[in-house]
Symmetry: C2
Subunit: 237 residues, 2 copies
Amino acid sequence: MTSPRSQVLLSTCFVSSFTSKVLTPKYLSSTIPCPSSARMSVPAVTFVTGNKNKLREVSQILNADSSQTPFTITSQKVDLPELQGDPDDIVREKCRIAVGERSRALTLVEDTCLCFNALKGLPGPYIKWFWDRLGHDGLNQMLAGFDDKSAYALCTFAYSSGKAGTEPIVFSGATEGKIVPPRHSPNGKAFGWDPIFEPAGFDQTFAEMDKETKNSISHRFKALAKVREHLTKEFSD
Amino acid sequence: MTSPRSQVLLSTCFVSSFTSKVLTPKYLSSTIPCPSSARMSVPAVTFVTGNKNKLREVSQILNADSSQTPFTITSQKVDLPELQGDPDDIVREKCRIAVGERSRALTLVEDTCLCFNALKGLPGPYIKWFWDRLGHDGLNQMLAGFDDKSAYALCTFAYSSGKAGTEPIVFSGATEGKIVPPRHSPNGKAFGWDPIFEPAGFDQTFAEMDKETKNSISHRFKALAKVREHLTKEFSD
């Protein structure tokens, strides 16, 4: 009952610009062929996203682990609809849609939230709209009327084996912290709301940290650790 | 080129509890048969909603007009997915989905926003989540850090004739006003965020006004006037 094992490989088959607009009824935009370096002898799980930053971060986290896993991660550029709802429901539904479009292949999707405790978890899944329109200062200003500046970054992945009768499984990772006036690293480009999120126990924002430190404590890292554990078990059985 | 005309009739075929959760992949929950009073000799446009309050308000507004129209409005209980995006995109996509499920019948859908100018139009289409979690006081508190308390209520309808090659048409209505600490009418139940929205030129909130006054100036009334004008023209040609 052993399976071939080798290092996790994330095939960066594409880089696409992020769009969060509501899209045309046919959500699947294209399937990108993976490079020949993808291991063909083990199951390939497809990470479905249209966001190059997420793809890069997932790649960094998975490739940072030297343990061997019995699957590969490939990617596909798909503009999935952005849904409203609770984070778990959103990502589960996103996965169902992706599976429907991809004819029941092994599918992984992701969604990210920034949750202000004073706002009872909001903006949550709508953070990209707030960040885009209000910027870092505006997000701080929204909390001016509240003493509580605490927040948490939440990452949820949903995975479907595509087997009939199964539902997508959700894996969440959260990092506690607080909202602060924006602080960037003097080098490098800031990613989204990273400059205003200072994780608990650190005096740097996500944007000030080096990538390795951030990836070792981030919400995405924690969720991906659960994804990896599940997939390793699934494909080792 | 004349069509039969008679008074608009909105068949309140159902009353359902509102749900804004992300739903199962098959969004269409049921088709409710309309009462025999529905006029069968003129085209029936189906207002697709799962919200009994919206249905009641649309009914009040359409029935308040004594002019004769060459169509009837019926209703159907459908739990459509709640999408993220710009208001026009959201309601257009909602209409496409409803048309797809309903096999190309004449279809009308609606979406409502409450837009804070200080937040560049947000919470906008996400207002129900903010209202539900933060309540009236919390919504006021979100604006504590901003001098600008102005806001507008926005209602968007999308209509599809179902004809091949056509796109849903969007009709919008907006009512300017400001966000105030909650004030209710001593009688009657407040509806959503009505107690904190004071329309410009009035010293009452939507919740303090009598229904007739509110319906004569509301965002929904303005959008519905455009819907009625379009449908009257379409079915008179």
